[in-house]
Amino acid sequence: MTTTLTRPSPTPVPVRTSLDQRRHRPSAPATITLLLGALYCLLPVVWVVMASSKSAGELFSTFTFAPSTHLWDNIQELSTYRGGLYWRWMVNTVIYAGVGGGLSVLISAMAGYGLAKYQFVGKKAIFYVILAGVLVPGVVLAVPQYLLLAKVGLTNTYLSVLLPSLISPYGIYLSRIYAAAAVPDDVIEAARTDGAGELKTFLQIAVPMMKPGLVTVFLFQFVAIWNNFMLPYIMLGNDRLFPITVGLSGLLNQGASQPAMYTSVITGALLSIIPLAALFLTLQRYWQVDLAAGAVKA
């Protein structure tokens, strides 16, 4: 039998009615420890905000945590760089991460559902083979992927970055867990008894039940593509197709005879964090990963 006790959907945390109010006293050491952790994680981000408000000269001559007044100038300078190329990179990144993340979720959800809800020959083998994909680092795959995509003339296109991003072993792994935990077998059986086909059952019954988990898979795949560097770096020659990571790297590495554009890179980095931070804040309840949902037995 299955238990939905640990379904990864963001079920509201049960209100823990307490029997002993005295235990609710806030603990200073606990709070301080947590806030120290938060401070540690925030410091470099605060530094970026400060640094991106400085002019090129100030960046290297004034105390690093003191803000300055050049944030708007820096943004304008970055925006006018080669006719607003930075914003084009931003749009590209959103396309790669958004479209790639969306399609990747669909593919992962289908695969995860298939793996969780059916018994078939080769199931274990397929699952482990897909998981093993995690073991091979992207640095190694980029060149062979390029050579293979070049054979069909797809390099230097949006597709050359999108297609390899669609397969996500982690996404399939998580979807399998979500499908196993969130979609009870008897619900599927009931749908079948009503005469629904397999695909219809998946789309109309399973997907809605898995939805919160799938949003999570989407978010993580979105971030993974957003932060990807090696694949687009190798695939793309046309700088109008670059994502932000590759574009900023170019601003940083202009050869010995040019000063690195530190202010533009730092300002660009700050602006590129903002959309992700917004995703964190608005979709807070989906940012949770139950890697081992099935393991908890009631």
């Binding site: 002019s55 090129a56 000269g57 960046l59 290297f60 001559s61 080669r82 060149v143 390029y146 050579l147 070049a150 054979k151 003339g153 390099t155 230097n156 770096y233 190798i234 020659g237 046309n238 700088d239 109008r240 590759v246 790297s249 170019g250 590495n253 202009q254 050869g255 010995a256 005879s257 040019q258 000063p259 690195a260 554009m261 530190y262």
Partner: protein
Amino acid sequence: MRLHTSLRLAAVVAATALLATACSSGGGDETTDGSTGSGEKVELTFWTWAPGMEEVVDAWNAKNPNIHVTVNKQDGGDPAVTKLLTAIKAGSGAPDIFQTEYQKIPTLVSSDALADIADVLPDGTKDHFAAGTWEAVTLGSDAVYGVPQDSGPMEFYYRDDVFQQLGLQVPTTWEQYAEVAEQLHTADPTKYLGTFSATDAGWFTGLTQQAGASWWGIDGDAWSVEINSVQTLKVAQYWGDLVEKGVIDNKPMYTPEWNAALNDGTQVGWLSAIWAPGVLEGNAPDTAGKWKMAPMPQWDGDNATGNWGGSASSVTSQSKHAKEAAQFIAWMNSDQEAVNILVSAGGLYPADIPGQAEALANPPAFFSNQPDFYTLAGQIAQTVTPFTYGPNVNVAYSAYNDEFGKATEAKKASAFTDAVQAMQTATVDDLKSSGFTVKD
């Protein structure tokens, strides 16, 4: 095997001696402004990382509606070459035109990445360049693998205000340089006359070039590797002593920390190249007018300098429009209008000799305190000594990073000379294991 024969002929002078000698400009004929004849519109792509290229390309596109060039800015590091080589292996994906650093030309030619444009280049292009510079793009053969764009003769940059304040003399020999370094550091222990950077192999190569080293050579059908020559060892020992004494810094250049040191005046000198004003202006804009440029300190009486940086424009072997691409790169690097833009927008020192006078009439804005900047630079440029690059510069350079990284951290002069030996071993082993014929 035309190339082989001619290479053999060119054995001694081979490869990339960047003698920017101000020899006569030759015919001085104008390159045609790219009228293709056929009405067909040609699209060319151009991979580069240098700033200002968009401006030059815009000027070209305005005048040549039938040959349209698109700039694609790339990352300027070593991986840009790998990216090109991967596209060459794949058979597609390479641009028509590629910005090539001189030291990478042998590697790219050896991978068949660059087209020989000898037959399609406008007549007289060669006459625009110094013989040594031209050899860098021909490797001493009859083939032509690009058109030189800029060069980087090395000079000594120093903070004039600090020198005057502390009563220091501008060093003209390396012996004096060592003395001044010590005087400065003693007077103010936070200040250094320079730093030995283990992350800038091209910089060290230039220093050894000045001392008369040439790390590779062609001897008949075999390569010779002479990284551990007496000249290189002399330079390594010299810097090792300074670092061991602690009078020269051992931190890498081009770090945020180094930028800060340029700003706050703790790096008082910089052994750099002709393009240094742009870097100083970008990194330490507030120090404008405080710097001055002088010739490199010398080893013995004769004036010599090395090269750091500089690149050519090449047509790749995948380009379907080599003729049009060759027209464009010839124009870009030898037409007066284009050269003016290269200087004003790109801040580089053009390899085109006839164009220098007009383009370099005024000193760089950052050095307006030194009106004869380019006159002096022109004299220095004539003293660049010959140097030959081999087909595995990348291996030697990455060995430099690792070995000198350890040596500068150890701060021992003996570690510096050991590092040179390790570079020699790594470079020779790599050539041999790839199957190159190497002369022992």
